[in-house]
Symmetry: D2
């Protein structure tokens, strides 16, 4: 009898981050993968992860529309409530042996509660890290609802144990996103033309001699300022003159502020050196990073995948504050002048040696092996 | 401009536990009370706390029906999702300066998320304690979502700080339920006849020469066994021959098991010495406890109010496991023989001296004073 | 490629009423049955139809808990909203070729909207009839949302056509409940002892020399009066002295009033001649009717099945007002004196000849044959 | 004691259509207006009617976010379910004496059910008309749930009566949208510069010598074809060379198709003669219509307001099929060649005499007067 492991994907970035684990679960002889696609992962506006998932050969056991329009704190909370109701129903009908909730997006707590209240063992991936904003609250609340913690670095492991969890149920598997990075780390050059393959909008930039990648998400607790924050980065990148591929943010309260800022800037300034993409296949995105000069913004890719790839990351603002960082990351505030200075400084420096603080590329397999062997339980008490 | 403090009452026992705090908030010159009555607090089957609340002179700003029928783990999770959606709307329209969530019932996390996601400062009452079952997960998740922690004893204060909270935001106010106990602790004898005043069902027992009080709730993680567990207590109490007032359990997955057990026992055995009540005014309930020989079951009243009142408590099973206990509490498993032995043992012993580990009767006032003065924030990071 | 026909069962009586159609769909070579069990059909308090359904050999494709506690007009509306959200999801994932909604219970409109808005052809069973109360609004609204109307008598067929529906899409199939009645109509005597087989509560009555059957539901638009209404019937039946089998009402706003009335009467008056049942297998119930002196109350069984069985029906109050009736039905108001008089009058009279105004027992087969052949569409315009 | 009349506004066009009635209710000495703003009326993407409502001096008693992202049939149904749950709660807390539901948008049935199930008299505005698509089903279902019908023309009045409604409860008040038209019908020329006042995107067109107005909504039952349909109109209008003001569609399943078509056309063809607006104050929009050469598309403004204003309307496709039309309307299919021919044909012809088939400009007052005097009931039976 195979163990049924139910994974809920609620957003495109979450999918990329666990793809190798999904594959390993799917292929494991003692595990059966139950896949639920929900939330913004079903929506065109946010890159429709469902299409990528299908192309990768996975079949969804259930799909759940649950995102309320409005992109504000109120709709975030209602989306979570709606998701909780629906996911409860999905788990009730699928009867999994364990449910996996991923990281710290606001809607992930819906998965956690739906499983925990139904006495289904809950496995939390990528707990124990530290950031600012609502993610911080969600992540640690997920930890307190979960029975097994598969974290992505030693720092996180120690923190989850400090939170009162049973040390035997806290395991550092590394981050599955590194598995993907490992697949392409040895490719000598970019194997596709981003403009040809992905279209996008904005100027046709000449990227062959070097380019930067930008990805800046809104920070939910700073809802009103999102627009201003992204403006600082836009001005700095435009002024640098370095060819840049800019990726639109994912769904969140405030994404309207960020998206609006980008859209306005594009229409008014029409910057010569920036090309905009909505999204990209995860492997291609990693290839693009690997061969870039640097990544700019507040995406976790700069902290995680780029530590392994050795790509310099200019981390802006509070979003990744207190995440474990390798030497590839340098930090700057929401200030166009400072951002520009750091860009120019990093521009000459070249890449860093590969770091394995987030794993060495076998997380997916480790996760599947643990899931097939670990004692699954849905009951616990705090350890102090 | 008064601070608007929104309190969400979702169950009868929660109301009793915070009544003195509600009063103090309501009367404080710098605070405005916004009261939301929701969940089982609106339902006749669970003692309709709304009626008591109204009689106490409070006016509800909003009422929210949210309990799904079924009393099983699936409906508990859906009830929480539904509550989250509705409470989000309520807070959005009431615009409070802070929201109070109480203790650890499963639906309290709906209040917590609705406030936290909308960047409304969240105050958690009675965090930091330890029990078993789903309450344990809910309580600590509430802690991780809350910004200010008003705990009810020192042990809890230390635990919340260990959970990574800012020590300045963790304050031991004692438990407001002790405030009520203080109001009646000096009454020399029972001032009403329970049978006259509350009716109830079952035999008319002769309580004037001493009686015991029984209250046993289902333990949600032991859903299937609830019926068996309550049976053990029923047999033991019946066999003891001591007059007993038995209170029906509150709403929970499994309450059907417990209620069913009680109902069946009543119809088949028709015990001579047990009289059953659905519920009672909180002060009267405390009076009944104060003048009883002991309380039996797994109600928190045995641990909290009875520590202050000095009434012996025979705590059965896992529900109050690891709560801070004064010397009045002794423990026993789900076994009729052992329960009976302990009852007989305690029967001769008399009361204990009053303990103040859960406060000395001024918690409500302390809470209101803190709420009027504390810096309210909705943003935090873990402290390690 | 078989046509996938999705049937949503939300209550025990609805199931009984379509059982023969479910069987015929299930066995039809060109049809595939998709069965969804929802609402009170999943709840023990309302007779858990799910158990009967399983015993009959049907497998549910999905189950949906959706009933809010409270049994008042507010929770009825919220239950419908919740059901609409969940059933939408279920249909989205099951992808049926057509959905069947049954009759006029308040929550059936959730099925109708979930199908209609998703452009799934909607088939309405038992439209076109006339009653009072909220059912009346729901039934005709269902008609306006549905694409195909399978009605149970000629009167109903004409009314649906008057409502502007395409006459070709309005077909009188008779009522599938008559199919069940046909199975047992020729049994010479009651083949089981109701007290032995179903237990129930109340006095052990001596039914062998004749008995009556009582079933009275609350009428939702008369919420407050439900308790009084049932009292009139209780007094009349008790006074008649004729042995009676009384069935508890199903879920509805006000059922608390009705249930409460029955419970109170039982405890206070402890009537000698009444025995109470929660529910019964549908065939056994029909057997019980067939061999009874009469049915009393406001159940549709008196109007439908009993017209075919020829059993006298004493119809009380407004609930069945304006339903098509055969000569077996006589009417009376909520008045104990009048009810008692009519009971005594009918007591001597014996049965009526079988009427086929609600069909002649082959509705299930007719429905399946139509479903396999009819042109399915989800678009229509009013015919005038 | 004033009658509390609760009006639910769920979309910008609905607001424009009832503005004069809101005003009349608000000012009536025997009525109290309770205003609920919900759905897309709260969303920036759909023109945030809430802002216009506030500017007009109305205060919302409650706001309800309820629109699910996805803009497909599945999210339409879920949005309705969510709205039903939330509006039920709103009505429960506001306790209105009557609720008004407007016309036939998919989510209006949520208002209808929330009121009808809670026994609140339901008033339906603008029933009895005929169109295609899901609106058709929703409108007539609203009629069957409503107790009082205030229709906007004689044709509609007769149809609602044919639907079995009590003729005394079906009153032709005319359409309140005509009231607005009456306010500006005598203005001799356009009193503002649309480009100055509303910005918009696209070429700065020279409109002083005549222009056309275009507004084309997706037709939900033709979800997939929306994009193609709007393309035909885009090509025809571009080729006509006549200056055109084009308005973006409102929220609906398929609006993505329509919006997408418009966006793509704009970016690829960059038409010389078309300027695009998101939305406009209702009075200004009527002014724009009044002084235009014609309106093109499938907006109801062409059928209703323009009949009174005498402005030619080129009605495209099935959306307004079977609406009552004055002589100002001519029809054409989704075919760029035919559309272009009709545009050129109408271009020379000038305006029509004012028609009063949709009222003569005093509907708002009529509605308020009826609401203050009519017998309000929540119970009815079909009339045949």
């Amino acid at each position: 009898m195979k163990r049924k492991i139910c994974v809920v994907i609620t957003a495109r970035p979450s999918y990329s981050r666990v793809r190798s684990a999904l594959k390993a679960i799917h292929q494991h002889e003692n595990l059966e993968l139950q896949l639920v696609i929900a939330g913004s992962a079903l929506l065109d506006r946010y890159g429709n992860a469902a299409d990528f998932i299908k192309k990768d050969g996975f079949v969804a056991n259930a799909k759940v529309f649950m995102v309320l329009e409005g992109e504000n704190p109120t709709t975030m909370a209602k989306t979570t409530g709606l998701g909780l109701m629906e996911l409860t129903n999905v788990f009730y009908n699928l009867q999994p042996d364990a449910v996996i909730t991923i990281a710290d997006r606001f809607e992930t707590i819906a998965t956690s509660i739906a499983a925990a209240y139904q006495n289904i063992p809950l496995i939390h991936l990528q707990g124990g890290e530290v950031t600012g904003s609502i993610d911080e609250k969600v992540r640690h609340a997920n930890t307190k609802l979960a029975d097994l913690h598969l974290v992505s670095n030693e720092d996180a492991r120690e923190r989850v144990i400090k939170l009162g969890e049973d040390p035997e149920m806290v395991i550092n598997t590394g981050c599955p996103s590194i598995d993907l990075a490992r697949e392409i780390i040895n490719e000598p050059k970019l194997t596709f033309d981003p403009l040809e393959k992905y279209g996008g909008v904005g100027k046709r930039i000449d990227w062959q001699d070097g380019y930067i990648v930008v990805m800046q998400h809104p920070v939910t607790s700073e809802y009103a300022e999102s627009r201003q924050h992204v403006m600082e980065t836009l001005y700095a990148v435009a002024e640098s003159g370095i060819p840049a591929f800019w990726f639109w943010p994912n769904v969140d309260a405030g994404s309207d502020g960020t998206s609006n800022g980008i859209r306005t800037f594009r229409e008014k300034k029409d910057p010569e050196n920036i090309h905009f993409f909505k999204n990209m296949d995860s492997l291609d995105f990693l290839r693009l990073l690997k061969h870039s000069k640097m990544i700019i913004g507040n995406s976790s890719a700069g902290i995680r995948e780029c530590s392994y790839l050795g790509v310099p990351a200019l981390d802006i603002g509070s979003r990744q504050h207190r995440r474990l960082k390798a030497e590839n990351v340098c930090h700057v505030g929401y200030n166009r002048k400072e951002i520009l200075e750091k860009i120019m400084e990093l521009n000459g420096k070249g890449h860093f040696p590969s770091s394995t603080i987030y794993g060495n590329g076998d997380s997916g397999k480790k996760i599947a092996d643990i899931l097939s062997a670990v004692k699954l339980t849905s009951s616990k008490s705090i350890h102090y």
